[in-house]
């Protein structure tokens, strides 16, 4: 299915949704723009994220177990500053879902 004519909804998540999730959001925006995907990226905390829906969730591994069901794609992060690694993870996942 071609999903590319709609904007991708991405959620970056951390413990209280203020510091590291915001950094993740900025890195995800960079990674997605190099992939040429039009996306709306938001950041939030674990509690709020569970009541939200998205196409992709990006969070550190500590939280990914709590986030299944929020989005079909959940991407665990181990290095917060690795934009290239994040781009590769997104590339792979989005191909699998028919976004790329």
């Amino acid at each position: 299915m071609n999903q590319a004519n709609r904007e991708l909804k991405v959620l970056t998540v951390c413990g209280v949704g203020m510091g590291s999730s915001l950094i993740l959001r900025m890195n995800a925006e960079k990674a997605l723009s190099t992939l040429g995907v039009s996306a709306k990226v938001e950041h939030t905390d674990v509690s709020s994220a569970r009541s939200m829906k998205a196409d992709v969730v990006i969070a550190q591994g500590l939280h990914t177990d709590d986030l299944t069901g929020v989005a079909p794609v959940v991407i665990p992060i181990s290095n917060f500053m690795d934009v290239d690694g994040l781009r590769q993870q997104l590339d792979e996942a989005l191909r699998g879902q028919g976004w790329l």
Binding site: C14, G15, V16, G17, M18, G19, S20, L22, I23, R25, M26, H43, T44, D45, V46, S47, S48, Q60, G61, L62, H63, D65, D66, I77, S78, N79, F80, M81, D82
Partner: protein
């Protein structure tokens, strides 16, 4: 004059409007399209309004909690002549000015002194500025706005510059790279943990991955849930022992018809809700301001690294995170019992700090002493938070005592230093506050100079201009 007075009263004293304008300027400087500029400025302004509403709910929940626990253990509830919402109402504008001027000063210092790390942990830009404002007002009363903002900006600007530098050599060991620095107000306990952990254990021999933390503790990672549960349990236990009149009075203030037990349960949930709301407000305005700060600093300071929040090191040792959180919480709860038995003070378990500070320190402890180091780090953090809360509440009782229950270890040190200097210079008239700024700048300056000498001798990179490769060469040489 009338125009200046209007601006002073309606812009510089109204934090929501001031933050909105700062965001507007930041977005315009980034040449964002009009819809982003308008949307961002409005979101930042509404974020501040939400923050105020959250603080009101939180302060109310805290007062009920303290009243019940105090009555249960036969103490007087902690006294104060002002509250956080009152203080934010009168000094919020100054806090916003200090965030902005302090951050600009910080960027200038990083650029001139080549200190490598730009502080980008947004909520701590806000909270540290608030703590420093409260300290100066507590020490010197109502002083000129320009003196307050000038001295406040110097203090926070120096702190943000030096804090990531002093912990940098340990941080590089923890994350095995130099991609980013540790910019978090848990740095003092993290540093102590790193120093004492080798005495407790060895990172290889006492490998933390051999420890299995039961999965049933994992819901505690959600600080909204853990706050509600821990405060709720203490509240209900407190109600068993509390004076029934005190409980009835507190409950009636919420709803005259409600049963005290049901009220106690709801009060704990409102406490957690207040924190969730205030964090939502902080998140909303930071989401607009931090990208602007980041964009400006990346352009202005080539070679610099971002200084980031505590959770960025959690993936290095997820088990240490859980061990640190559990040992910090247990230590704090034991100390809560000790404080109550001794009749000292009503402690409030600060779940957010027990999690983030305890976990951050434990990751450092683990890197230098395995699981024993991580557990020891948690115990140290528990002590720092309990005694800090007790001291901080008393020290800020005329301004914003509730800050003591939301605080990290570095805040307590900052409170002690600023108020100590304030006490020292208190007889010197209206310019004494300027002297505090000068002394703190001098102390940070000397500290930075010594740090750079020590780090250079140890072969650590000390400016923003050394390459990552120098570091990797060195560490691969060790292996």
């Amino acid at each position: 004059m009338d125009v200046l007075e209007f601006i002073a009263n309606n812009i510089f004293n109204e934090v929501a409007i001031l933050i909105g304008l700062i965001t507007l300027v930041g977005l315009v400087l980034q040449r964002k399209p009009v819809d982003d500029v308008v949307g961002g400025a409005v979101r930042a302004t509404v974020g501040i309004i939400i923050l105020f509403i959250g603080v009101e709910v939180f302060v109310g929940g805290l007062a009920s909690f303290q009243a019940i626990v105090a009555s249960a253990v036969g103490l007087d509830p902690p006294a104060a002549t002002n509250t956080l919402d009152g203080f934010l109402g009168s000094h919020g504008g100054n806090v916003a000015m200090i965030i902005t001027c302090g951050f600009i000063l910080h960027l200038a210092l990083v650029r001139i002194l080549k200190t490598r790390y730009v502080y980008l942990t947004g909520h701590l830009l806000f909270w540290m500025s608030l703590v420093v404002t409260a300290c100066i007002v507590q020490a010197f009363g109502e002083i000129d706005q320009w003196r307050l903002v000038l001295v406040g900006s110097i203090i926070v600007g120096c702190y943000w510059t030096v804090q990531p530098v002093f912990i940098a050599p340990m941080m590089r060991k923890v994350i095995s790279s130099d991609d980013w620095g540790y910019a978090h107000t848990s740095s003092s306990v993290a540093w102590i943990a790193g120093k004492v952990a080798p005495l407790a254990g060895d990172p290889k021999q006492h490998d933390i991955e051999k420890i299995h933390v039961p999965k049933k503790f994992s819901f505690f990672k959600d600080v909204t849930v853990s706050t509600a549960v821990v405060i709720g349990v203490i509240m209900l236990v407190g109600l068993i022992f509390a004076d029934s009149d005190v409980a009835a009075e507190q409950a009636a203030a919420y709803d005259p018809e409600i049963n005290s037990w049901v009220w106690g349960f709801i009060a704990a949930l409102r406490f957690a809700a207040g924190i969730a709301i205030l964090l939502y407000g902080v998140r909303m305005f930071l989401a607009e301001i931090v990208p602007a700060f980041t964009g400006i600093s990346q352009k202005a300071i080539p070679g610099s690294r971002p200084g980031l929040d505590a959770p960025t090191i959690f993936p290095v040792a997820p088990t240490a995170v859980m061990v640190g959180f559990l040992t910090t919480t247990v230590t704090f709860l034991i100390l809560m019992g000790v404080f109550a038995a001794a009749g000292w003070f009503v402690l409030v378990p600060p779940m957010i700090m027990l999690f983030f500070v305890g976990a951050g320190a434990a990751v450092y402890g683990n890197a230098f002493g395995g699981w024993r180091g991580a557990a020891l780090a948690g115990v140290i953090t528990g002590f720092a938070l309990a005694f800090g809360q007790w001291a901080g509440w008393h020290l800020l009782s005329d301004t914003a005592p509730e800050l003591a229950t939301l605080a990290d270890p570095d805040w307590y040190l900052m409170i002690l230093v600023v108020l100590g200097l304030g006490e020292l210079f208190s007889g010197l008239g209206e310019n004494a506050v300027l002297l505090v700024g000068v002394v703190i700048a001098a102390v940070f300056g000397v500290w930075l100079w010594i740090l750079k000498r020590i780090q250079r001798r140890a072969g650590e990179p000390v400016t923003g201009l050394e390459k990552e490769s120098e570091l990797t060469e060195q560490s691969s040489g060790e292996q």
